[in-house]
């Protein structure tokens, strides 16, 4: 009975941080499933995609209520991201585990460092819509993000937000909200592939997802009481530790 309890607690903790910071949580879940619970890497990635669906449903609902989601832009970018996510999940079995671990550790490190950097301040609430060329390049980049998300078991928000903000000119809070909306669709594509191939253990994933649904609710409610900066620092430290462990795992330490 110990394992399910730990899985619920992992879900609550990840959901709490995800709900408070608007993140999918895949960066925490995959290494913990793989290193702590000793699940295979593919099983960890598949379960993570299932859990990201739970996080994104909660956060997208909250952002949609706030009215900050640019649904039209999200739909356009998802046309390539969904295809990329399905492709990433499909080729996951063919990619060497070492490569997945190294790529995962690299992106986790970037995400961890990004948490330490100060948040960007919005300067314009209603920017001009991006040109067709920028939109096409943004969609192409989103497709690559989709492949990474499907392959690594992450939502890809850490890469989507910069594309939306820096390249397509969305204000930061709208970029974050649109990314949260997009993450659910990306995860739906790759989770379908992993589920169909039998990589997903419904019981284990279900327990964590249940914890996430509870934790994300608590995390969203706690936003007014716990400083976001503190939570970002905690999340950053967790990410960097996990990145080191993933590199260790890749090197056979």
């Amino acid at each position: 009975m110990l394992d399910p309890l730990w899985l619920v607690l992992l879900g609550v903790g990840t959901g709490f941080l995800g709900g408070a910071l608007g993140l999918g949580g895949g960066f925490i879940l995959v290494p913990v499933f793989h290193i702590v619970f000793k699940w295979s890497l593919i099983e960890s990635v598949a379960a993570s995609q299932f859990c990201i669906l739970a996080t994104s449903l909660s956060s997208a609902q909250r952002y949609l209520t706030g009215g900050n989601v640019n649904v039209r832009l999200g739909v356009v970018l998802e046309s390539t991201t969904i295809a990329g996510a399905a492709l990433g999940a499909t080729i996951a079995h063919a990619v060497p585990e070492l490569a997945i671990l190294v790529i995962f550790a690299a992106i986790t490190t970037v995400a961890g460092i990004r948490m330490w950097t100060p948040s960007l301040v919005d300067t314009e609430d209603n920017p001009a819509p991006p040109s067709r060329n920028r939109l096409a390049i943004g969609a192409g980049a989103s497709g690559i993000v989709g492949v990474a998300a499907g392959l690594l078991g992450i939502g890809g928000g850490v890469l989507k937000v910069p594309i939306l903000h820096f390249f397509l000119g969305e204000p930061m809070r709208r970029a974050t909200a649109t990314s949260a909306y997009m993450i659910g669709l990306t995860a739906a594509a790759s989770a379908a592939v992993y589920y169909g191939r039998g990589d997903l253990d419904l019981t284990k994933g279900g327990i964590v997802a249940l914890g996430i649904l509870l934790g994300s609710h608590l995390g969203a409610a706690s936003q007014a009481h716990i400083p976001v900066k503190v939570m970002k620092r905690v999340f950053s430290i967790i990410l960097l530790v996990l990145a080191i462990r993933m590199v260790g795992k890749a090197l056979g330490w």
Binding site: M1, P4, F50, L53, A54, S56, L57, S58, A60, Q61, L64, T65, V71, R72, V75, V76, E78, S79, I82, A86, G184, L185, A188, A189, A191, A192, V193, Y195, G196, R197, L200, L202, T203, G205, G206, I207, A209, L210, L213, L214
Partner: protein, 95 residues
Amino acid sequence: MIELKHIYSVGRAIAAVSLLVGVMAQYLGGPIGLGASAKTISGAGLTVGLLALGLTPIFGLAAEGTGWLRSRSTDAVGWLAVSLAIALSLLWWLG
């Protein structure tokens, strides 16, 4: 008027209840005397939970794309949304 956020709220609620039933039946079904039905209830609860999580964004995409949520005629992005919803549904169906 129904909005996208309402679809997400309902999907989340269905997922939470189904997963709770599935997990409870899995671990407490035996002790409370559900016997062989515990496995069936657990499997059903977890599957419905998974489908609620996976299909809610797809349903939202289709509803938004067709203009059903805003009672307006659809445009190019709307049709793209509907196409994506159909593609994702097929992915789940074939999976």
